[in-house]
Amino acid sequence: MRHVISVLVQDHPRVLNRITGLFARRGFNLESLAVGTTHVPGLSRISLVVSGDDHTLEQVEKQLNRLIEVLKVTDHSEPHVERELALVKVHVAGVEERLAVKDIQEAFRARVVDVAQKSLILELTGDSKKVDSFIEALRPYGILEVMRTGAVAMSRGERTLKVREKREAV
């Protein structure tokens, strides 16, 4: 089963190394990883997409928690918002294709961020399934490049990845 996990970490050099290394040596399957800073200086937040059974997921969480620089780990099993950003460069041979691609773009509420004579770059934000279908819809026209960020996630409502420490809530 697919799980999206958020990890709050101290923003130290090599912390990403520790996390990816952990996945490699424990044989956990890491599908995607996205990292960014938070509003608290010194803390970063990582979103991981992992698949595995309950036992594997329990171990993923526990092993992540063992890392000294990991402050919090949450498996988003509760209602949450999940987003992924994709950039897709698609081939457009002529006017007809350009119009057809434009239809797809509108249907998915994507944006055109680059226009060239024979190609377009489209930007799409959405959950991973939406990104998948978007790419599938564009495939017949000739996809030149795809760049996906991997999923990021946040719990809905009051729930936060809070740390009750000197450092305040994130």
């Binding site: 101290q10 050099p13 190394n17 952990l22 526990k62 092993q63 928690n65 063992r66």
Partner: protein, 562 residues
């Protein structure tokens, strides 16, 4: 004050009295500062010897062991020992020099990405970039190494940081927001555990290395309840090996009584162990009648990792046992003990006597001659299992061996570390001819510091454990395990170092040899030429279960039904 001086001052503030190590270019400023320090340094002949000695120092003393090495090759020589300490949850701090900051990442002379290399085999590691960070990093390293589940921590310090002017403070507060080990067991779970034990008809206590410091509580709990105790290889000594409640060691080369007890147990209280595959055998067939497994461990990630756990207790063995003790009652286990007693008397550890000298009888002779009052270290292989079987130690921190990683060559450096930690104790290293030759250069360390260590080499002329497996599972195709044609004369080798050498080849000279070793004033290397085709039994083949236990070589097999 330079960074290197600040480093030593910070180490002194952690109470460090001794460092094992080997100097080199990138750690020279720290060795220079060491020249004026109160800290004692033990110069080893290879960094691997240093880290193993620091590991055994920690295991024998209960304190943090410290090792120091230079950059690149020096640091990389620590890798095996760090992995060994990591697997056996030993608190060690390793300090390594690195090339100056400006050269990091340029493939400079003696440069290696040591923090990168050691990431999977340390509890945590640091590359110190700022000289004023030194006291904080040292503080954190010792705290991380020695608390929670203990483990090795590496501090890598570039040479120019060691030379930089220190202007910081030593009064640093720990600020590790992501690190808060749970030490006190959850009261609800402790209640559940006591409840399960009270209703148990066939309970057992399984104890690992995590309970070495909890021996007093363990003894009290076992005696109060009357529950039989099984100690793993790492747990040997945590419970007295001469106690009537003790059933021995479980697993691949464990006793029949211990393995059968596990097989038939209805409630298992496991404390400070991680259900290694050498203990469980095939997990799906492990403890099939246990409806309740209570697992006490300070590392939450260990609970449920290998076996199903019904009552998880995250906490320190000592504190949890204290809580358990408060509610512990004497249990009615007479029927259970009748069964255990029968297995124990019917299948004691024994060996098939032969005309040749045998490892088992050598170890047993040392046990009798010393009354078991010694710290035993071992290498890895058949002799290690024989030592575990035939030298039951009765005190904690007295059996120091490589459990998880199974590192050949640890015996001699382990003995050095143990002797430095507890100089008043008799330290015996039971070693194999194969194992010993992996680190024998540390004989020089024995000489240099006049360390009275007794090295007992059980020389069967083979890589005995591999030979045993080839015998049993590879149709006696003895591929590359024969050593006798090229082994040195160990006694003469010792004498070349100025150490007393003893050689015993015949059964009738056994007692004379034991006496020569024990009466010698100072270190001894004794070679006992033992039967070359001995096997370690009982044995559960890898991936097997208690029911698959064999008592003797299949040629004369007697199977034990579980």
């Amino acid at each position: 004050m330079k960074g290197s001086e600040a480093l030593l001052k910070a180490l002194e503030r952690e109470g460090v009295e001794v460092i094992f190590g080997h100097p080199g270019g990138a750690i020279m400023p720290t060795y220079d500062a060491l020249y004026d320090s109160k800290i004692r340094h033990i110069l080893v002949r290879h960094e691997q010897g240093g880290i193993h000695a620091a590991t055994a120092y920690a295991r024998a003393s209960g304190r943090v062991g410290v090792v120091m090495a230079t950059s690149g090759p020096g640091a990389l020589n620590l890798v095996t020992g760090l992995a060994d300490a990591f697997m056996d949850s030993t608190p060690v701090v390793a300090i390594t020099g690195n090339v100056p900051r400006a050269l990091i990442g340029t493939d400079a002379f003696q440069e290696a990405d040591v923090t990168g290399v050691t990431m999977p085999i340390t509890k945590h590691n640091y590359l110190v970039q700022e000289v004023n960070d030194i006291p904080r990093v040292v503080r954190e390293a010792f705290h991380i190494a020695s608390t929670g589940r203990p483990g090795p921590v590496l501090i890598d310090i570039p040479k120019d940081v060691q030379l930089a002017e220190f202007t910081g403070t030593f009064d640093v507060e720990l600020d590790l927001p992501g690190y808060k080990p749970t030490t006190k067991g959850h009261p609800k779970q402790i209640e559940r555990a006591l409840d399960a034990l009270e209703k148990a008809e066939r309970p057992i206590l399984m104890v690992g290395g995590g309970a070495q410091h909890a021996h007093g509580e363990l003894l009290a709990f076992a005696e109060r309840t009357g529950i039989p105790v099984i100690t793993t290889l790492m747990g040997l000594g945590a419970f007295p090996g001469n106690h009537p409640l003790w059933l021995g060691m479980p697993g691949m080369h464990g006793t029949v009584a211990a393995n059968r007890a596990i097989h038939h147990a209805d409630v298992i209280l496991a404390i400070g162990l991680r259900f290694d595959d050498r203990v469980t055998g095939k997990v799906s067939r492990f403890a099939p009648h246990a409806h309740t497994i209570i697992h006490v461990d300070i590392d939450p990630a260990e609970i449920g990792k290998v076996v199903r756990t019904h009552v998880p207790i995250v906490g320190d063995a000592k504190l949890v046992l204290r809580e358990l003790l408060k509610g512990a009652k004497p249990l009615k286990l007479a029927a259970w003990w009748r069964e255990l007693e029968e297995w124990r008397t019917r299948y004691p550890l024994r060996w098939k006597p032969r005309p040749h000298l045998q490892s088992q009888e050598v170890i047993r002779a040392f046990h009798e001659a010393t009354g078991g009052q010694a710290i035993v270290t071992t290498g890895v292989g058949q002799h290690q299992m024989f030592a575990a079987q035939f030298f039951p130690v009765s005190r904690p921190r007295s059996f120091i061996t490589s459990g998880g990683l199974g590192t050949m060559g640890v015996g001699l450096p382990f003995a050095i570390g143990a002797k430095v930690a507890r100089p008043e104790e008799l330290v015996i290293d039971f070693d194999g001819d194969g194992s010993f030759q992996m680190t024998l250069q540390e004989l020089a360390t024995l000489v240099k510091y006049k360390l009275d260590v007794k090295v007992v080499i059980l020389n069967n002329g083979y890589l005995g454990m591999v030979r045993q497996w080839q015998d049993l599972f590879h149709a006696k195709r003895y591929s590359e395990v024969y050593l006798a044609d090229s082994n040195p004369d160990f006694a003469r080798l010792a004498e070349a170092y100025g150490i007393k050498g003893v050689k015993v080849e015949r059964k009738e000279d056994l007692m004379k040899g034991v006496e020569a070793v024990l009466s010698a004033d100072g270190p001894v290397v004794a070679e006992f030429k033992v039967y070359h085709e001995e096997g370690v039994f009982p044995m559960i083949p890898a991936g097997g279960a208690a029911e698959d236990m064999i008592l003797e070589h299949p040629a004369e097999r007697e199977e034990v039904e579980a």
